[in-house]
């Protein structure tokens, strides 16, 4: 009969429609009512209706290998309580990164000799493509993919450039989100250690973090990072003043380089960026504070605690004002962030246009 195909199809939709309710009735009280937090949807073979998850009230249970932004693992030294990054600043992650979103500065000791730990470590999460190659090729199991995908922010700068503090998580966090990977890695490492110990009984284990002990009782050795500790984490190796000084020096270096390269920047010292203006105009103190807050939030999350209320949020000591480097013109400081004032941009544009015109005129004369 003509039209029977249409009705047959409508029967299917009716069945689906009813099945959705059957599912709901089976789950009385409805899981939406209580706000069940994590829904495990791995066994849906028999489910017939829709399986929408009411985000953000509900979350899907993420598979262990879920990957988002990379994170850096640290272990806490049992004696001194210092955080020791597993990262050795070897740079393989930066080399293998397809969009090249990882920047690493290797740390130096007092004599200026490079040592195997990062002084700075940036991941530009606006570029990161979540591919996981950095974690896959890291020889020290230091960089791993985080599960935390809720990193939305109002501004790219500074919120979405993760620095060392924001990237650091304790090993225990990694152990919690990816237990089987962690177990496999620890087993492999223990086997290696045993092999080494058998071969050279006198040699000390290479890593001071005593991985064998960490594997035996990780919770006892590796304490979760208290939220308040995070902002001060930078001080673990360097004083804030020192970091500020290094940053300023780096800015000066960059400025000097820029002066040699482009005339557009040479003129810049005449026009220091006004403190007000477009959204990118934040004082360095403010940026530091925002970063510290973000780091604290992330640390709290990593430690599995609820984010501290805003009032109780650790207010970091106001960073000492960056010493104005004599060689650094104000424009150099702007080079770090996207802090060009509209006027400056207009001026640069005009200059560029003038250059182009001059060039075009020159070409015509030729």
């Amino acid at each position: 009969m003509f039209g029977s195909g249409v009705f047959k199809g409508l029967g299917v939709t009716l069945k689906e429609f009813l099945a959705t309710y059957v599912d709901d009735i089976k789950q009385i009280p409805s899981r939406y009512a209580g706000g069940k937090e994590e829904i495990d949807q791995t066994d849906v073979g028999e489910q017939r209706g829709l399986f929408t998850i009411q985000y953000p009230e509900e979350h899907r249970k993420l598979p262990e290998r879920f990957r988002y932004i990379p994170m850096l693992l640290y272990e806490t030294n049992a004696e001194t309580g210092e955080k020791e990054d597993r990262c050795t600043a070897c740079g393989i992650c930066a080399k293998v990164c397809p969009p090249q979103c990882i920047w690493i500065v290797r740390d130096k000791d007092e004599n200026g000799k490079p040592i195997t730990r990062p002084a700075e470590f940036y991941i530009d999460t606006t570029i990161c493509m979540n591919c996981g190659l950095c974690a896959e090729f890291c020889p020290f199991d230091a960089i791993k993919m985080n599960h935390d995908f809720e990193i939305a922010a109002y501004q790219r700068m500074p919120h979405l450039i993760f620095d060392l503090d924001e990237l650091r998580v304790p090993v225990s966090y990694y152990q919690r989100i990816r237990p089987s990977d962690y177990a496999a890695e620890e087993a492999a490492r223990l086997a290696k250690e045993a092999e080494k110990a058998a071969a050279k009984p006198a040699e000390k284990p290479a890593r001071p973090a005593a991985p064998a002990a960490a594997a035996a009782a990780p919770a006892a050795v590796v304490t979760d990072a208290p939220a308040a500790e995070a902002p001060a984490a930078a001080g673990a190796k360097r004083t804030p003043e020192e970091i500020e000084r290094l940053k300023a020096e780096a800015a000066a270096r960059r400025a000097a380089k820029a002066e040699g390269g482009g005339e557009a920047v040479t003129a810049a010292p005449a026009a220091p960026p006004p403190p007000t203006g477009a959204g990118a105009q934040r004082t360095p103190e403010e940026i530091e504070r925002l970063k510290a807050e973000a780091a604290a939030r992330r640390a709290a999350k990593a430690a599995g605690e609820a984010p501290p209320p805003a009032a109780a949020a650790p207010v970091p000591p106001p960073p000492p004002p960056a010493p104005e480097p004599p060689a650094a013109p104000p424009a150099a400081v702007t080079g770090v962030g996207a802090k060009r004032s509209p006027e400056e941009i207009e001026r640069l544009k005009a200059e560029a246009a003038a250059r182009r015109a001059a060039k075009a005129a020159g070409d015509e004369q030729k």
Binding site: P63, W103, I104
Partner: protein, 579 residues
């Protein structure tokens, strides 16, 4: 430096019929004189059975541009014959177009012109295809520097060991990283106008037999989602409601995939292939790693081969669910079938996520194996899907869609391509098989371990939209058949060849083209290596891009509403079309 391919000048073939046409021979092809290529191509098509021009691309060598044609026989399956044309005039490269011989070369030659600046004399519509018409320069030439250019190849030196973060925007806008044409004045500049009426010959066409004269008008469909497939634009010339001309415009999603691919190292390209046809990233991974493995001479372990097949066939089911669902979306059934398909896709994506860490951008295949082994419980979930759930859902789909009279009325006899036309236009995949050509690379030229599985090649003789729907539905059953065998036979063992994982693989100099039967058609990866860490040339034969070549042919004579359905049945994904 010249092409790393051995050539010989003895025993030149076709010397008897076309003396002087072939300059040299290579292992699988010929180096042809540019002025004789049309004759040779016609001879090859008419007398040697090379009826299918699969891929056209070009390589920028220091001494010459090389245009490469990959030919196959489809009506009578024949292995590849590669025609190379070397154009020594690098300032003004030009050669005759082969579009009159193989219409399927149309878009591909336009792409070569667009990206490499090689003129094809006699091409009916030689203008830019992926980039906009006012674009200056030819991006795939080796001397081209894109904006935000830092270095020729990754890894970039500024990242380590002293790499402070810097915004790309801070590096660029008004510095020396952007070039303007000499004497370019923004005030005097006018955006280029494309004369569609002239290109499409709208006013030259004879009016119909009817006495009533109707003005022919151009209708822009798109670029905002003409049928929810992505940003694609069709300029349709209509007379009344009838389509009398159609010009596709694409490139809105062009992301310099191939240029990025040349900057990247080999490993870095794997996650980028995910972003081609983002519905079926596993297949894209597979095609790319097969091409590089061909160069490296790697053989993956057994378990990895099976895992690859399992993932690729799951991907085919995902892609066909989407294709069928959105075909109905285009027909006005709105989201019911599309969402039913999407829902089953979610379950398969759950499996992908469990094993690779990501639902869509899987980045799962590696040179010589796969990135990760199956997790606990994975195989049970896959079994549940393959043996119980998906067959049930497919039955529901049949009940819901196959018998629907409205659907049949809208699709039977619409957008017909005969077998000869489909081959001439280089159609691939379900498009080709729906025109009665049972050509499936998994059977014709089995790659990986497809020769171990029992399955049928699905084909329909009708060549219309309905046949394309039917072929896709049937292929899902066949994919389930393959999955059942693969899951049953899945061996234990390693998933990567022995040895430490290398982030910097050594790829010997050479050239490789691997093609796989992707869900949407023949997906090819053309990789040229000069022995360094980065590919010298990296080209993707995108099946949906080439399938669009016949869009005008299929739509002519139908109503304008049918043009949407015809487009829906091509099953394009703009990430792959525009690259």
């Amino acid at each position: 430096m010249t092409a790393p391919i051995e050539t010989m000048t003895q025993d030149l073939p076709y010397g008897g019929v076309l003396p002087g046409a072939v300059l040299e021979t290579t292992k699988n092809g010929l180096v042809v004189a540019p002025d004789r290529i049309v004759e040779l191509a016609r001879y090859l098509r008419d007398h040697e059975g090379y009826d299918y021009c699969s891929m056209v691309t070009s390589v920028d060598w220091p001494q010459y541009f090389e245009v490469v044609y990959y030919l196959y026989g489809v009506a009578q399956p024949k292995d590849a014959l590669v025609l190379r044309v070397r154009l020594a005039d690098k300032d003004n490269p030009s050669m005759p177009s082969l579009t009159p011989i193989w219409p399927g070369a149309d878009f591909q030659e336009r792409e070569v012109y667009d990206m490499m600046g090689i003129r094809f004399e006699g091409h009916p519509n030689l203008r830019r295809i992926l980039l906009w018409d006012g674009f200056e320069g030819y991006p795939l030439r080796k001397d081209y520097k894109e904006s935000y250019y830092e270095e020729d190849t990754k890894p970039l030196k500024s990242r380590h060991p002293d790499g402070h973060h810097a915004w790309a925007e801070d590096r660029v806008p008004w510095k020396d990283n952007i070039t303007y044409p000499v004497a370019w004045d923004p005030d005097l500049w006018r955006s280029p106008q494309v004369e569609y009426r002239r290109i499409m010959g709208v006013d030259d066409l004879k009016h119909g037999t009817s006495d009533i004269h109707t003005e022919r008008i151009l209708v822009n469909m798109g670029p905002q989602h003409p049928s929810t497939h992505g940003v694609f634009r069709m300029i349709i010339a209509i007379e009344g409601e009838n389509v009398v001309g159609l010009e596709p415009e694409m490139g809105y999603l062009h992301r310099c995939h191939e240029k990025i691919g040349e900057r990247n190292t080999y490993v870095m390209n794997i996650p980028f292939t995910d972003r081609l046809d983002y519905i079926s990233s596993m297949s894209n991974n597979l095609g790319y790693v097969l091409a590089v493995e061909k160069l490296m001479g790697l053989q993956p372990p057994e378990r990895a081969e099976y895992l690859r097949i399992i993932m690729a066939e799951f991907t085919r089911i995902v892609s066909h669910f989407i294709a069928v669902g959105f075909l109905f979306n285009d027909l006005g059934a709105y989201f019911t079938p599309a969402l039913y398909g999407m829902r089953e896709r979610e379950l398969i994506l759950d499996l992908f996520e469990a094993v690779s860490g990501s639902r869509m951008m899987c980045n799962y295949m590696r040179f010589g194996g796969v990135a990760g082994d199956l997790t606990d419980g994975w195989i049970e979930r896959a079994r549940e899907l393959v043996w119980n759930r998906l067959p049930r859902v497919l039955e529901d789909f049949e009940n819901l869609l196959s018998g629907n009279e409205i659907f049949l009325a809208r699709t039977r006899g619409v957008g017909v391509l005969t077998a000869q036309e489909a081959i001439a236009y280089s159609m691939a995949g379900p498009m080709l098989r729906a025109s009665g050509v049972p050509y499936d690379l998994r059977k014709v030229a089995p790659y990986s371990i497809y020769d171990r599985f029992e399955f049928d090649v699905c084909s329909r003789p009708e060549g219309d939209v309905w046949a394309r729907f039917r072929v896709r539905m049937d292929e899902m059953y066949q994919s389930l058949r393959i999955l059942k065998q693969a899951i049953e036979q899945l061996p234990e063992g390693p998933i990567m060849p022995p040895g430490k994982k290398q982030h910097q693989v050594r790829v010997p100099a050479g050239e490789a083209y691997s093609r796989i039967e992707g869900p949407k058609g023949e997906l090819g990866f053309f990789v040229v290596s000069d022995g360094k860490a980065n590919p010298y040339r990296y080209h993707v034969r995108a099946p949906t891009f080439i399938n669009l070549t016949s869009l005008e042919k299929m739509s002519l004579g139908h109503k304008i509403a049918d043009a949407v359905v015809v487009l829906g049945a091509v099953d394009i994904v703009l990430g792959e079309v525009d690259r």
